[in-house]
Symmetry: C2
Subunit: 195 residues, 2 copies
């Protein structure tokens, strides 16, 4: 999947944009630090694998968007990277405005995909599906809130805002799962919903 979401001539993948942004806000840093960031993020969308990050950084370097800026102080061979002037321009172009259509549009949701085909299940199974989904969404919401609180405590305003955004989405999904159960005339099996 190509996943191009950059505005006009940007030509940046969503992951490339994110990596460029991560380097931008905490220059200079090593690719490994980026990997750690991805690994600790509550979103499991990207794998944070070495096979994704290192070739990507090489790509950005070849395009002249980042440049090596020395090594880490400790003896390990960590290469520090920073944005070039072109890199900063590319980051701004990727960010927008204008916001690319893909970015504003309805975000994908695997749960929504599944509900679309719930007709193939018997009502009792539909109820079980919805109850199970709600339980897991609530669990992930709790995990995520820990992350958000930690970021807030660290004074990271923007990462806190990101967490608030994810929070709102998860809350919306919970409300929607409840509404879905109600509309399908199923016992919603509400056990300990968070306020």
């Amino acid at each position: 999947m190509k996943q191009e979401t950059g505005g006009q001539g940007a030509g940046l993948t969503e992951l490339e944009g994110c990596v460029l942004g991560m380097i931008g806000v905490r220059e200079p840093c090593t690719p490994y630090a980026l990997r750690r960031e991805f690994r600790e993020s509550p979103s499991r969308y990207w794998s944070a694998s070495a096979g994704a990050i290192y070739p990507l950084v090489v790509r950005l370097k070849r395009r002249g968007l980042v440049r090596a800026k020395g090594k880490t102080g400790d003896g390990r061979g960590g290469t520090l990277y920073a944005l070039t002037a072109a890199g900063e321009r590319a980051l701004r172009a990727w960010l927008g405005p204008p916001c690319p259509p893909q970015a504003a549009g309805v975000p994908p949701d695997p749960l929504r995909n599944r509900v679309a085909f719930l007709a193939v299940l018997a009502p009792a199974e539909q109820a079980r599906f919805l109850a199970d989904a709600a339980r897991r969404v609530r669990a992930d919401l709790q995990r995520m809130r820990g992350y958000t609180e930690r970021k807030k405590a660290e004074g990271d305003t923007f990462e806190h805002l990101v967490g608030r955004g994810a929070d709102g989405m998860m809350q919306a999904r919970l409300d929607w799962l409840r509404e879905t159960a109600r509309r399908l005339g199923l016992a919603s099996a509400e056990d300990g919903a968070a306020p």
Copy 2:
């Protein structure tokens, strides 16, 4: 990107699961009908390209999950497909319960990705970004609501529920953009927000 979100031994991509589900709820149908469905969906996540659908259907056929079931009545060479017993089992396994962790987790959001790096913009540009994003989200929300209303009028309960889910997400994003502007101390530039 592999995108495996199937439960346990399912081994189905998200797109494969969706196609299997689409065939399941409206058997029998042609691959072209699936393409039309994707094209008319308010979600622009998948391209609905021939290069995605046809090889995918061939894949499902080779795995014994779908089977050809005659041709369309009109003279065009449309091949109708339907689920096999194994296909129905695979669909149920993909749907869950149990709901795979990837499905319940925080869904990706390009807007959230961008807000994470808003620090590289000056406050005035941040305000412009947020206003532009909100405007576009509102526009997409309107487009999407047309689709949802149409589905409701057609009596398609589940597609209506899917629309309601997307609606909730978009609404949550709008609220969040507003909150973000407020927290950053920016003039939110509220022009004609939908209730």
